[in-house]
């Protein structure tokens, strides 16, 4: 039985590889049995978190749309990193003629901040705020006329509370327009003058230093004017610097000293988080394309745990039923199938741990479904063994014949399920791909278990196999 020795070595090698893959360090912290699964990456639908998918709207005729998507990716990575979402995963995907960006943030419980960071196209410009209202002035004819007279435009602030009349051309000078500046550095710094407040300190890219110098000279208001009240203050109110991102005013304030070297500070009684957010906005730069939200999902981590427990129940009860049934129906051969189920499950989880494939909720459904079909190969082979034995063959010969005759049946039958799963993998989006992966891996593991591992066990146990001579074999 040299071929059986090869089979045994192969089976054990695969088993050891699977267990090693599961036990390697680097998984989630876990205790006891859960350690075995600690390296399996869980999808957001199981771990809880936020998933956002955006369609990248690339202008028609853009030559290299892939590089545009790459740029979008880089900008988003910077934005999310600087806002503290370092564990966020950003993926590019291309379907048909469209490009998509998917952002997954595990354990996040709120989509708002991430959506704000991502959703803004990031067109940043500096302007001159000349007036403000605490209501929506775009419906008031006087305010609209004022905007036309001043050739300026009303913009809401980011909370939508106040509206500012902002000019793009500082003091109507065409040469003083600062749109889409590159900011090489921006960070929250503890305010040296105030108490426990933060300021945002930033550094402009060298190319923008000169124009920013001229703008700040133009808008410079000495600090004593600010404290004087009176008409001087009224004029000063028309010379405030506005930072506008995506048509929303992020900040309005006085320039208290001309900035010659491109290094400025924005002071505004910020809390640390506000300062951090503003710094992130300044740093993140403009997106080279518009992003349209395609889908979003928020799954609470608690729900994820509930779902895992439900699936665990379903899986354990289902597996137990299958194992009991196989033992009752096939006796010793049933035990071989039962060991085979555990073997194939180990291989599946070993694969998931080793390759870092993501286990999603449909993925678990795939595994549980596979447990049911795992034994199909065993059943086909066992039925064949019984038939051959009833026809008078010895157990050993019956096993050999059954395996060689069942091979193509097994191959055909499993291939059709693999075709269906491949189609789901190719056309599916999001978590459903996880189903395709576990189903395919499960079927391959099942085939290996059926044809290689079970054969060794059956040959080894052939002495104990008994077949009732039912079915009218005796005439």
């Amino acid at each position: 039985m040299r071929s059986d020795r090869v089979r045994l070595i192969l089976s054990l090698a695969l088993l050891v590889a699977a267990i090693v893959a599961m036990l390697l360090p680097g998984g989630r912290p876990a205790q006891g049995l859960a350690k075995l699964f600690s390296r399996v990456k869980l999808g957001l639908d199981l771990s809880g978190g936020v998933r956002l998918e955006y369609k990248v709207e690339i202008e028609q005729g853009t030559e290299n749309s892939v590089s545009v998507v790459d740029d979008v990716w880089t900008v988003l990575r910077n934005r999310l990193d600087s806002a503290g979402y370092t564990e966020a995963v950003i993926r590019k995907s291309f379907r048909e003629n469209n490009s998509f960006i998917t952002i997954e943030i595990p354990d996040a419980t709120d989509t708002t901040q991430a959506e704000k960071l991502v959703g803004s196209t990031g067109l940043l410009w500096f302007g001159q705020a000349i007036d403000e209202r605490s209501y929506d002035p775009t419906t008031n004819p006087d305010d609209v006329n004022l905007a036309v007279r001043e050739s300026a435009q009303w913009y809401p602030d980011k909370d939508g509370q106040n509206w500012y009349l902002v000019k793009k051309e500082i003091n109507n000078r065409k040469d003083l327009v600062l749109s889409g500046p590159r900011i090489s550095q921006a960070m929250p710094v503890l305010d040296q003058q105030g108490v426990a407040n933060y300021v945002v300190s930033f550094t402009l890219d060298r190319a923008f230093v000169d124009i920013f110098k001229n703008i700040t000279k133009e808008l410079y208001v000495p600090e004593q004017v600010l404290n004087s009240g009176t008409t001087q203050y009224q004029t000063a109110m028309k010379k405030r610097l506005a930072i506008v991102l995506d048509d929303k005013v992020q900040f309005v304030g006085f320039v208290v000293s001309p900035i010659e070297d491109g290094k400025g500070q924005i002071r505004g009684n910020f809390s640390f988080n506000e300062a951090k957010e503003l710094a992130a906005i300044l740093r993140s730069g403009a997106l080279p394309a518009r992003l349209v939200k395609n889908s979003a999902s928020l799954v609470s981590p608690l729900l994820g745990q509930d779902v895992i427990m439900q699936c665990l129940y379903a899986g354990i009860v289902g597996t137990a039923l299958v194992m009991i049934y196989m033992f009752l129906f096939y006796g010793v051969m049933g035990l071989v199938a039962d060991i085979g189920i555990l073997y194939a499950l180990t291989v599946i989880f070993g694969f998931l741990s080793g390759t870092g494939s993501i286990l999603t909720l449909p993925g678990i459904a795939g595994i549980i479904f596979t447990i049911g079909t795992l034994v199909d190969g065993n059943v086909i082979i066992y039925e064949r063994i019984k038939e051959e034995m009833r026809a008078g063959k010895t157990t050993k010969t019956a096993i050999e014949l059954a395996f060689s005759r069942s091979f193509w049946t097994l191959f055909d039958a499993n291939l059709t399920t693999i075709i269906a799963a491949l189609s789901l993998y190719y056309f599916g989006t999001g978590t459903i791909k996880g189903f395709a992966i576990t189903t395919i891996v499960g079927i391959l593991a099942a085939m290996f278990m059926n044809l290689v591992f079970s054969k060794v066990l059956l040959d080894g146990l052939s002495g104990a196999i008994r077949v009732r001579k039912t079915g009218g074999a005796e005439k």
Partner: protein, 330 residues
């Protein structure tokens, strides 16, 4: 195990050849000897009735499509009051925003969830032009607060799908279904004779229509997991059919010249134990998913539980009779 020695098929008798495998007509399969083929008219009628019921339900009642296909926003809220009904939830939330008046509310629950009561609320917010829109980040925060205070509980999921994404999902789903069916047809045509391909594909269409019909009839959510179940069912049904066809082919070669109805009937009988065992073990596991799981996976469990039963039935009673009808020889 059942053992019937004298039935309509058995009359042909045996010539007494000693073959390793059961000989057609000898009543010597794996212990089973039902007259599947002779009774095929009854089964075809039963299938026809099921298909008609399914089609009527699909075209009159329609489907409870999942968010992925209709677009909009889905808020899933977990409450602790076990006696809350869908109507109560509707009354509590209808004033939150105009679109909440027509919200689709489903109770989603599984065995063993105790007194937790979970509801899925699907709304389709519209913009000024009447097109489906997506909530802004701030609106979402507001809505979560409002729904939580109105219903009492905590929002565990907030899903949004834009109209574009829903359309894309529909087109991808069609492509996946068409591709799978074509691939199956091509595969079976290569491996088997054309009539076998026709038989298998007819059985497939039969399975898919009836399973989809049950989704409609019982109002189970037709989501991406349900589609996954339908496609898996396609693979499973073909798998089941192939095992029977393989045996028909084998018996056909071995017993050339025998009446095809005898060969087919004995093939079904000789694979019957396998068919029942595999279907039962698969059924055990997918039924557990239907019983224990919640949310989108429940649809998968439902589709597969129905599908395994229908798929097994069709490979015995639908696929093989078709082969008899059209195949002159094997």
């Amino acid at each position: 195990m059942k053992e019937t020695k004298n039935n309509a098929i058995n009359k042909q008798g045996s010539k007494g050849t000693s073959s390793a495998i059961a000989q057609p007509g000898s009543g010597f399969s794996s212990g089973w000897n039902f007259d599947f083929v002779g009774k095929r008219k009854y089964f075809l009628t039963l299938s026809a009735i099921l298909i008609v019921i399914s089609l009527i339900s699909m075209f009159t009642k329609g489907f409870n499509f999942g968010l992925e296909f209709i677009g909009g926003s889905e808020i899933v809220i977990e409450t602790n009051s076990s006696n809350l009904k869908v109507a109560d939830v509707r009354a509590k939330i209808s004033d939150i925003a105009p679109e909440f008046k027509n919200a689709r509310i489903l109770q989603v629950q599984a065995v063993g969830q105790g007194d937790k009561n979970t509801f899925s609320i699907v709304v389709s917010p519209k913009d000024e032009k009447g097109a489906l829109r997506i909530y802004t980040a701030d609106e979402k925060v507001e809505l979560i607060k409002k729904v939580e205070s109105a219903v009492g509980g905590s929002v565990v999921t907030f899903n949004e799908v834009s109209g574009d994404a829903a359309n894309e999902m529909k087109s991808l789903t069609w492509k996946a279904v068409v591709f799978t069916l074509l691939a199956m047809l091509v595969y079976i045509a290569i491996r088997f004779k054309f009539v076998f391909g026709v038989g298998a594909v007819l059985a497939l269409i039969h399975d898919v229509i009836i399973t989809a019909g049950m989704f409609s009839l019982f109002g189970i959510e037709m989501n991406v997991s349900a589609i996954a179940a339908l496609l898996t069912l396609v693979g499973y049904s073909v798998n089941d059919t192939i095992v029977v066809f393989d045996r028909i082919r084998e018996f056909g070669r071995r017993f050339k010249g025998k009446d095809i109805t005898v060969i087919v009937n004995d093939s079904i009988n000789s694979t019957l134990t396998r068919t029942i065992n595999t279907s039962l073990t698969t059924f055990f596991t997918v039924l557990m998913l239907l019983l224990f799981a919640t949310g989108s996976i429940k649809s998968f469990g439902f589709g597969m539980s129905i599908g395994v039963v229908i798929g097994t039935y069709s490979s015995m009673f639908i696929a093989s009779p078709v082969v008899i009808r059209w195949a002159k020889s094997i």
